[in-house]
Symmetry: C2
Subunit: 337 residues, 2 copies
DNA sequence: ACATTGGTTGCAAGCGTATTCATTGGAGCC
DNA sequence: GGCTCCAATGAATACGCTTGCAACCAATGT
C-alpha cells in the first residue's frame, strides 16, 4: 500500500488525449452533446490511463451526491438488519450508496441530524421506529426526499409500511379458524403509530369475531426479554393463544411458555417473519412482512422525479402458518439457502 | 416540505457579517489562526442565519471525506449486524460516517469496488469474510487506510481479529474440565484464515490434552441450517461434545440434537456470543468476541496518523459458560437491557 | 523612538468537474 | 452557390470551501 498515487484529473487526461476537459466530462455524461467517435476515444483513453471521474467534485457541481442516508435505531430486533441489508442492495442496484446513521438511545441526536444535513444526502430513509420526534425529523430532511419505513407519519411525508391492519386481521382470523377464543396480546412499543395500529386492528377483529381479549402486556420495547416477561404476565389468565406484536417478542414468549410447560396449550403468533421464526426450534406462525415490496417501493419513491400522491403506501404480506399454532404442520428443516 | 430553501454559503454569511469568507472558514476550523472574538461572533452569526459549512466542498479541498467504507457480505450471521452497529457508533463518536457496501454473492463486485474508489472514502473496513479476493481488495483500498476485521490477511494490511487460538484453547480446556473426551467439530467456512485457525488450534489442543476428535463436518457457510446438518452428521460417532465454529452453527446444531433427543448427552459450544446464545432456550456456552475492544482498536487504527507495526492485532475474548455444557448453570433470564 | 515579533486578517489561487456560451464546420435545402 | 440550421467542440466560469501568502497592527525589546 504505497501512499496515494494521486489519480488523474479530467484536465490531465484531456491534455494527454489532446481534447478539451469538457470533452472528457461529456464522455462520462450520458446524453450529453458529444460524437460517438470522440466519446469512445476518450473512454478508451480513460481506461488505459486508469482515469475515473472524481465523485466529490461532481457532487459539488451537480448538487447531487447519489447517497441516501439511512437512519436506524433498533438494530437489536433482527428484522431491521434484514431490512437494511435488502435496502442497501436495492439502492445499490439503483446506483445509490447508503450512509448509515445510527441513532443511539440517549446520544446526541442533534449531531446526527446535523451530519445528515452537512453531508448533503439526496434522500433520507428513516427506519428508526422511535426516538426521533417529528420536528427534528422534518428539520433534518428539509429539502430532500425522505421516506419513513414501517413508521407512520404526517401526510406530507412519503411512508412505506407493512399493512398492519391486514396482518392483525389475518392473524386473528387464523387463530379463530383453529379454535382459539381467548387471546392475549403482548405489545412492543406502545406509543408508536405502528404499535397502536397493530393493537387496535387486533382488538377490533377480536371483537368482530366474538373472541375474548384475556389481557395485554406492554413490553415497552421489541426484545426477547420483553416477550418473555409479557408471556409470563399473561399466563395466569390462561389464554388459548397469544399474539406478540413482533417475532422477537414471540420468541422470548415461546421460550417462557416452554419453560412453564404451557407451550403446547397456547398458540403463539408473531409478526415480521424474521429468519429465526422458521427455525425448527420455534416454528413460529407469523405474518411475513413483504420486504422485497417494501424495498422496491422505497427505491422507487427515492428515484422518482416528482412525489406521488397519496404518499402513504401500505403493502400487504402473508400469513405463514407454522407449528406454533398448528403443531402438525411439518416443522422440518427448510431447504438450504 | 417546500423545496430547497438553498442554504447560505460561507461567502454570503461573510458579507452579512462584514468579514471575509476566509474568516468564516477559519471560525469552523479548530486550531486555525483566528481570534476568539471573531470566531465567536461568526459562530453566533452562523447560528442565527442557519449557516452550516458544506461538507462536499470541504471534501474537495481537503481531500478528506470523513467517510469510512464498510464492506460487508454476510449479514445473515447475527454476529455481523451486532458488530456493524457498534462499529458505526464508534466511528460516529470519532466524527466519521459509515458508507455501507453490501457485497452480494455473485453480484458485480467490480461495481462495488469502483464505487469505493470514486467515493473517495478515507478508509475501508472489510468485514466480508469471504468473496473478496486479495487482489480486488488491494485494488479497492489502494492508497487509503484499510482494516480487515475478523479476517486475516497479508502482513501489510492492518488486521483486527479475535484471538481464535486463545478461544479454541479455552473451549477445549473447558470441555476437558467437564469430562468430555470425544469431541466433534462443525466447521463454517473452511477456506478462510479464520476458519482454518479455529480448526487447527482446536485439534492441536485436543491432541495436547489427549482427547479424541470423533469427526469433522464442514458446514461450508455460517448458518443455522449448516449447523443442523453438521450436528446430524457427527451424531453416529456418538461424541460427548461438539464444538461449532460459530454460534449460529451451534444454534442449528443444538436444535438438531434436541430433536434427536441427544442434546442432554452432548455438550455443545459455539463461538462469538451472539445475543441468541444467551437466550434461555439455548443457553449456549461460547467464546465471547471482544466487540468493544475490536471496535475501538479499529477506530484507533483508522484515525491514527501513521500505521503502527506490527499490523496484526489479536484480541482475546472470554469463555462464557452456560447450560449447554454445564446444565446446572442457572439459565435464568438475564437482566433487562 | 524604532525595529522586531507574533498573532490576525483578507486576498486570491486552487480543489476537479459540470455546464453555459460562443464558435466552428458541415449537411441540407432552394 | 449561398443560406440556414444543427451537432460538436472548446473556453470560461461556477460550485463552496481551504490555505498559502502578504499585509497589517499591537505589543515588546533595546
Amino acid at each position: 500500500m504505497g501512499s496515494a498515487p494521486k489519480p488523474l484529473t479530467s484536465r490531465q487526461l484531456a491534455s494527454l488525449l489532446g481534447v478539451s476537459q469538457s470533452a472528457v466530462s461529456r464522455a462520462f455524461t450520458p446524453g450529453s452533446s458529444i460524437s460517438a467517435d470522440l466519446r469512445e476515444r476518450i473512454l478508451n483513453g480513460a481506461n488505459e490511463h486508469d482515469y475515473r471521474p472524481n465523485a466529490i467534485a461532481s457532487m459539488l457541481t451537480k448538487r447531487r451526491t447519489n447517497i441516501v442516508g439511512i437512519v436506524v435505531s433498533d438494530m437489536q430486533n433482527p428484522f431491521y438488519p434484514a431490512l437494511i441489508e435488502r435496502l442497501t442492495q436495492g439502492l445499490q442496484r439503483a446506483g445509490l450508496q447508503s450512509l448509515l446513521f445510527n441513532i443511539t438511545r440517549g446520544a446526541n441526536i442533534e449531531d446526527q441530524m446535523i451530519a445528515i444535513r452537512t453531508y448533503n444526502v439526496d434522500a433520507v430513509v428513516v427506519i428508526a421506529a422511535t426516538i426521533l420526534n417529528p420536528r427534528t425529523l422534518m428539520w433534518a430532511t428539509e429539502g430532500r426526499r425522505s421516506v419513513l419505513l414501517n413508521r407512520l407519519g404526517q401526510d406530507d411525508i412519503d411512508t412505506v409500511c407493512c399493512d398492519n391492519v391486514d396482518g392483525a386481521r389475518a392473524i386473528v382470523d387464523h387463530l379463530h379458524s383453529i379454535g382459539c377464543r381467548r387471546v392475549g396480546y403482548v405489545a412492543g412499543l406502545t406509543k408508536t403509530a405502528v404499535g397502536m395500529t397493530r393493537h387496535s386492528a387486533f382488538t377490533t377483529r377480536l371483537a368482530e369475531l366474538g373472541m375474548r381479549l384475556t389481557g395485554t402486556a406492554s413490553g415497552g420495547v421489541y426484545s426477547y426479554d420483553a416477550g418473555w416477561r409479557g408471556a409470563l404476565e399473561l399466563l395466569p389468565e390462561r389464554p388459548d393463544a397469544i399474539f406478540f406484536a413482533s417475532d422477537i417478542l414471540a420468541l422470548g414468549g415461546l421460550d417462557a411458555l416452554k419453560r412453564e410447560g404451557a407451550a403446547g396449550d397456547i398458540a403463539t403468533v408473531g409478526f415480521d417473519d424474521i429468519p429465526m421464526a422458521s427455525w425448527p426450534g420455534y416454528a413460529l406462525t407469523t405474518y411475513r412482512q413483504p420486504i422485497d415490496a417494501i424495498v422496491s417501493k422505497t427505491v422507487d419513491l427515492i428515484v422518482a422525479e416528482n412525489p406521488e400522491t397519496p404518499r402513504q403506501h401500505l403493502l400487504v404480506g402473508d400469513l405463514v402458518v407454522r407449528a406454533s399454532t398448528v403443531p402438525d404442520v411439518t416443522p422440518g428443516l427448510h431447504p438450504q439457502p
